[in-house]
Amino acid sequence: MKKVYSRPKSLKKATFHYCPGCGHSIVHRLLCEVFDELKIQDRVIGIPPPGCSVFAYNYLDVDMAESAHGRGAAVATGIKRACPEALPFTYQGDGDIAAIGTAETIHAANRGEKITSIFINNAVYGMTGGQMAPTTLLEQTTTTSPYGRDAALEGYPIKLSEMLALVKGAAYIERVAVNSPANIKKAKKAIKKAFQTQIDDLGYSLVEILSPCPTNWKMSPIESWKWVDEVMSKEYPLGVIKDITGEKDAD
């Protein structure tokens, strides 16, 4: 019999430190599969964030440069301008890209920086213990909103991808999820297209990924995968938000 599925080449043989059922490890694997398929492992420079995925350099066998909290887009800008042949990508959580790093991200997109951002949206601050994030849904209970998020007190869930779609420099923005076989395939396709957008020098690309966080949502892995489908993707609808890659010339 023939082997039809095994570990991607650019994913190191190491045990993930993520909780069982976490979406991070799936996204790591999808990234590595895309690196292998596009043969860009030598050109990619990753910028992991503070957060659960701060140790992404232990798993992804590509160059990595750690950034200060939220400043991934600024670091990626520097790398891209210093080495235009490199393919920097930022890997950011919702606390990183949608809270402390909103300004950097919006301005990097507005300048049309040729970088790629992978935005992991799990609606809570995962690493620090499940506090409320700007992306937390209304009425969702977290450790800092024990009675549920109240719009009058804490505002509304922020939709960063839609905000970035208004910015002229952004070329490709899509929201996907990693909570079912079909959605995981779509997520991989979106990540591949985002890197292709960067390879073709078309502008800023971002993939928002709705990712289950069973530990902080206080659910079993399979319940959390269903919750993404039944609750979270109602507030954050999946699909392409902006795509002007077809309108621009590839060179």
């Binding site: 023939k2 909780c19 069982p20 059922g21 395939k185 995968w225």
Partner: protein
Amino acid sequence: MKKGYIEIDQELCKGCQICIAFCPKGSISPADKLNAAGYMPVKFDDNGECTGCATCALVCAEVVIEVYRD
């Protein structure tokens, strides 16, 4: 007749059991003993049916499943 089979690295499995939920043939089940990390891994039923569709590998968060097909 079996068209495929999978190999699970039980020492690295964290027992999230998502592969069990998505296996179309129901051929994966919890193992009977804990691994060194203290998780209850999953096992492939030797007598179970497998078409080698690789859905289990696609949803596996720990990348511990290898799929073989004719």
